[in-house]
């Protein structure tokens, strides 16, 4: 399969370069710059007709991110609870969450109310939480054509169909996953996400965003088996400065497949949460 990709990509690359030369010589430049220069440097990447890198496949976050550190442990410790926000953006850099004073107080309050984490009650995780799931657990399937890049997440059967047609964000629209608009900058897919409804949390440790969240994501196919994911999360009413997140997605072997994760239909754990975590039950000592 790799060899077919390489062959096709060379043929398509030559065709893309030729057509972009012809187009540029005969009319005004198109709104999106053809990926001429960097595509010469990255000639080994698989590409779709049109020249953009082919991000398709089944991908799994291998390490890092912010939720990558969070694993509920048998002794009850919660790595994320140590200290203010999180110190490690994981595998390759990142920054801590730095809250405004009021938002920090809100975070500490939510830390005691895990019962209210919307993802625990099977709501959509939002952005970037849907991709920033604990490493190695839930893959994402990417299907792509000239008009969109679709991300089908196993976690919560979350779906983001990202149009790459230069269309604007809608007005009067508030969503758990926000509204995504994609464009290509050379070989990187840049996705601008806004229009959030303010209901999502970033993790189980009370870290959160509100309706003023804005995310810029960058997906770069580094090699045939690796996508570098970077996200800048800004939220002026929650964080005093933008958060940078970075991790890699690795291609899953072809014999694996995405599975169904039907959360709402099978969720039975919340009923056992005690008042200590905002739940309904009394703790029995």
């Amino acid at each position: 399969m790799k060899f077919v990709h390489a062959y096709h990509s060379r043929v398509l690359l030559i065709a893309a370069l030729a057509s972009s030369l012809i187009a540029n010589s005969s009319g005004p430049l198109s709104a999106q710059a053809p990926p001429a220069r960097s595509s010469v440097q990255n000639a080994s990447l698989p590409r779709l007709p049109g020249g953009h890198p082919d991000l398709q496949g089944l991908w799994l976050k291998s390490a890092g991110g912010f939720q990558g550190l969070f694993i509920g442990s048998l002794d009850g410790t919660n790595f994320a609870a140590a200290g203010r926000g999180r110190g490690n953006g994981g595998g390759g850099g990142g920054t801590a969450y730095e809250y405004t004073p009021e938002a920090e107080a809100e975070r500490l309050d939510r830390l005691r109310r895990g019962y209210e984490d919307p993802e625990a009650r099977c709501h959509l995780p939002g952005v970037p939480r849907a991709l920033d799931q604990p490493a190695g657990l839930y893959p994402v399937q990417i299907i792509q054509d000239e008009k969109y890049v679709a991300l089908l997440h196993e976690a919560m059967h979350d779906v983001r169909i990202v149009p790459t047609d230069n269309s604007p964000h809608p007005r009067s629209y508030w969503a758990w996953d926000g509204d995504s608009r994609g464009r290509w900058e050379a070989d990187t897919l840049v996705v601008d996400v806004s229009n959030f409804n303010g209901r999502t949390w970033l993790d189980m440790a009370g870290n959160f965003v509100d309706e003023n969240e804005h995310v810029v994501e960058r997906f770069t196919l580094v090699d045939l088996d690796t996508i570098l994911y970077e996200a800048t999360v800004t939220d002026p009413t929650v964080f005093v400065k933008p958060i940078q997140m970075r991790f890699t997605l690795k291609r899953v072997p072809a014999e694996q497949q995405i599975l169904e994760y039907s959360c709402l239909e099978g969720e039975r754990s919340l009923q056992h949460y005690t008042e200590e975590d905002g739940g309904k039950k009394r703790r029995v000592k």
């Binding site: 442990s73 072997p253 169904e260 754990s269 009394r282 029995v284």
Partner: protein, 143 residues
């Protein structure tokens, strides 16, 4: 080489999963008490591979001969399925032993760290898994 890295990754993930950690979506500490380990020996009534956690219903007969029903929460079924477990892996009537931790709310609910089958095989056990994850439909090899 790349495929081996991915397989290794899945093995590592399976080892973490197999210890019965409640990963993502729900916090272990919010539901279960790490200071209250428990061992339950019982007969399987039902094995439900639902998300976000699987549930084994077992009938446990106490010393006095009274039977109580317990609900055992397992880690995420999607991870278990990728290890080769299916809805047919535990059948009504199977005798199993569950080592886990009691729920904080005092109900007959526990989180499974380890399940031991009647023939002694340990399942959901961490480091005892010796081979790479099985292809779907076959059970994982265990010590």
């Amino acid at each position: 080489m790349k495929r081996n890295v991915c397989t290794l990754l899945l093995v590592l993930v399976s080892m973490v999963l197999a210890d019965g950690y409640a990963i993502a979506h729900h916090s272990f500490a919010a539901e279960f008490d790490a200071d209250k380990p428990i061992t339950l020996k019982g007969i399987v009534v039902k094995w439900e591979m639902v998300n976000p956690h699987g549930w084994i219903t077992i009938d446990v007969t106490g010393a006095e001969g009274k039977t109580a029903q317990w609900m055992i929460e397992t880690s995420n079924p999607n991870g278990l399925m990728r290890l080769g477990w299916t809805k047919r892996s535990l059948k009504p009537g199977d005798q199993i032993t569950v080592e886990g931790y009691k729920a904080k709310d005092g109900s007959n609910t526990a989180n499974a760290a380890r399940v031991i089958l009647a023939d002694g095989r340990k399942v959901f056990a961490g480091s005892s898994l010796t081979t790479a994850p099985a292809t779907p439909g076959t059970a994982p090899q265990e010590k």
